[in-house]
């Protein structure tokens, strides 16, 4: 226990989640925290490329799907009735029954439903959890969904399970949006940093994220990225709703350029590095449990 998990999230994509997550992780390591970075954006994982890493282990993530043994099947339709995802197609008069694997969530209800032992299960691959070390320590975990798979949630769940118990601070790079993949990531965290930009789109998505975090009852604050572009509406909203503005990252072409070639801006910009570290340390001191404080 004593570990603190901080998710970096945003309703809209491209606001700079990965930028913030990788830079915070970098400054934590630099300040001798035992930190881990978990890339939960399983549909588009990009965090690992910013660090020198060694792949330690690849873990296959699977889900069970039903297999129907038509010798035993009586076409009674009970499995179809039990399936809440419409993943079993059945036409009793024609003696046709089929599993639509893409729709199956692997809940096992069909197997419970079947009274004739006509349903068994087989695993299918959903993606991978890749474990990476940095300076000899397990520090980075990547959730990577197979292309064509519907939901990244099982892969994200599996990635979070591999967090090292020794870690003090865990940074989770969240997928964009406010639905299942985001909830899965935010739900496991102690604090959520929302990254937004001062534009109408940024504000609209921020409101959506805030509403979701309120229903989840999570602690959160906001980092405004590309400060200086757009207008002041985001700031007015934060003030009005009493939401902490944690930090503003100014829009600088140099920062964008470093990012575009896979470099950590904090490594080259010491004031950015210091300010980002101060921002996270504040959160850790205020909300972290006893062991993650210094």
């Amino acid at each position: 226990m004593g570990m603190m998990k901080i998710a970096i999230a945003s309703g809209k994509g491209g606001t700079g989640k990965t930028f913030v997550a990788t830079n915070i992780f970098y400054t934590l390591l630099k300040n001798n925290y035992r930190a881990m970075l978990i890339d939960c954006d399983a549909e588009a994982p990009n965090s690992i490329a910013f660090f020198e890493t060694k792949l330690v282990k690849e873990i296959e993530v699977t889900q069970l799907v039903p297999v129907i043994n038509t010798d035993n099947c009586t076409y009674c339709g009970k499995c179809h009735e039990y399936c809440n995802y419409n993943a079993i197609f059945i036409l009793p008069p024609m003696k046709i029954i089929q599993v639509i694997e893409d729709l199956c969530h692997g809940c096992g209800a069909c197997r419970v439903a079947c009274n004739f032992e006509a349903i068994s299960e087989k695993p299918v691959s959903l993606g991978k959890v890749n474990l990476y070390s940095n300076n000899g320590k397990l520090s980075l975990i990547e959730a990577k969904m197979n292309i064509g798979v519907m939901s990244p949630v099982p892969v994200i769940k599996a990635a979070v399970k591999h967090i090292d118990n020794q870690a003090e601070i865990v940074i989770l790079d969240s997928p964009p949006g406010t639905s299942c993949p985001f909830i899965q990531t935010a739900g496991t965290s102690d604090y959520v940093i929302l990254v937004t930009e001062p534009t109408p789109f940024g504000l609209s998505d921020l409101k959506q994220s805030v509403a979701t975090l309120r229903t989840l009852n999570k602690l959160y604050g906001v980092i405004v990225n590309r400060a200086g572009v757009g207008n002041r509406d985001v700031y007015d909203y934060l003030k009005q709703e009493n939401i902490p503005l944690l930090f503003e990252i100014p829009f600088k072409k140099e920062i964008a350029e470093l990012y575009s070639v896979g470099k950590i801006a904090s490594e080259h910009d010491s004031s950015l590095s210091k300010q980002l570290f101060a921002t996270v340390e504040n959160i850790i001191l205020k909300y972290g449990s006893s062991n993650s404080k210094r």
């Binding site: 309703g11 809209k12 994509g13 491209g14 606001t15 990965t18 549909e43 588009a44 990009n46 490329a49 069970l64 039990y82 809440n84 995802y85 969530h105 692997g106 809940c107 096992g108 209800a109 419970v112 439903a113 969904m145 292309i147 064509g148 798979v149 519907m150 939901s151 990244p152 997928p175 964009p176 949006g177 406010t178 639905s179 299942c180 993949p181 985001f182 909830i183 899965q184 739900g187 534009t199 109408p200 789109f201 609209s204 998505d205 959506q208 509403a211 979701t212 309120r214 229903t215 989840l216 572009v229 757009g230 207008n231 072409k253 964008a256 350029e257 990012y259 575009s260 070639v261 896979g262």
Partner: protein, 289 residues
């Protein structure tokens, strides 16, 4: 003709580009399929002629007046959503997948299901045609199904109003809402940007789109932020035989247009970026497979 605008990663400029295409020429149906973060209504302020609730799924809940704390449901749940908390069986709303199995096997009939019905779908008129969009209620799931409903509605509206072009502003990523956006469209436009992450995500989304046998176009947005990565993306597209429909420069007017609740075309059709968008849209519309 249905054209989907998508990208592997978010924030590449899908919505701004969709808004530009929707205001270039002729009336269109514009469908915002990014139901997690629908934004186009902010620019176009459409009338709400129709509003419908959408059921995104179900969640299990326990009736404690009937529950005997036997824990059978815990053994059956594959989503680890049920556990003993302070010696009481408790269901985590976040982890519950809504499969209903616990409710079916409970010997005391103590588990019921609640419908998530706060998500909405809207249809109406905007200044250059018809608009359909969905908004997922905070924390609700199953955005793929909502995308399907938005698309069905868009097709119906197109038919009723004799409009030929449907523009779908898609969600980011490669998961279920993206798959729902791509299924059965005529053309897909992938927007990317010249960063290492941009190229990596382009590779992933192209791999997905290739499963569908749809005509693909790539737009490299903000191409001048890193010319060498832009060249790398162009080369990659050449090898994969995917046409680059065009490159768009970084232009602060994009944000200015957004702040003024306009598309870039409406802000100023004579800008370099506006002229390029016009050219790109004509190429996408007219190129035969």
């Amino acid at each position: 003709m249905e054209v989907a605008i998508v990208s592997g990663k978010g924030g590449t400029g899908k919505s701004s580009i969709s808004a530009a295409f929707a205001t270039l020429n002729g009336k269109v149906v514009l469908a915002d399929c990014d139901v997690d973060a629908a934004n186009l209504y902010l620019l176009f302020n459409p009338s709400h002629e129709e509003e419908k609730a959408f059921i995104t799924g179900e969640k299990a809940f326990i009736d404690y007046s009937l529950c005997t704390n036997c824990g059978l449901c815990i053994d059956y749940c594959r989503f680890n959503a049920i556990s003993f908390k302070e010696e009481m069986v408790s269901i985590s709303e976040i982890a519950c997948d809504g499969c209903r199995l616990c409710s079916r096997i409970c010997p005391e009939n103590a588990i019921g299901m609640i419908r998530n019905d706060k998500s909405k779908i809207y249809a109406g008129t905007f200044r250059n045609g018809k608009m359909v969009y969905g908004r997922l209620a905070p924390g609700e799931e199953n955005s793929g199904k909502l995308v399907n409903v938005v698309r069905e509605k868009a097709k119906q509206v197109a038919k009723e109003n004799g409009l030929e072009t449907i523009i779908l502003d898609g969600p980011p990523g490669t998961g279920c809402p993206v798959i729902s956006t791509l299924t059965g469209v005529d053309k897909v436009v992938i927007v990317t940007e010249p960063t290492i992450s941009g190229l990596h995500d382009l590779e992933r989304i192209v791999e997905l789109v290739k499963k569908f046998n749809i005509q693909i176009f790539v737009i490299i947005n903000k191409y001048d932020l890193n010319l060498s990565v832009t060249r790398e993306i162009e080369k990659w597209c050449l090898v994969k035989k995917i046409p680059v429909a065009g490159c768009l420069p970084y232009d602060e007017n994009i944000i200015k247009a957004m702040v003024n609740r306009k598309s870039i075309i409406e802000l100023n059709p004579e800008l370099e970026i506006s002229l390029k968008l016009n050219m790109i849209w004509n190429r996408i519309k007219n190129q035969e497979k």
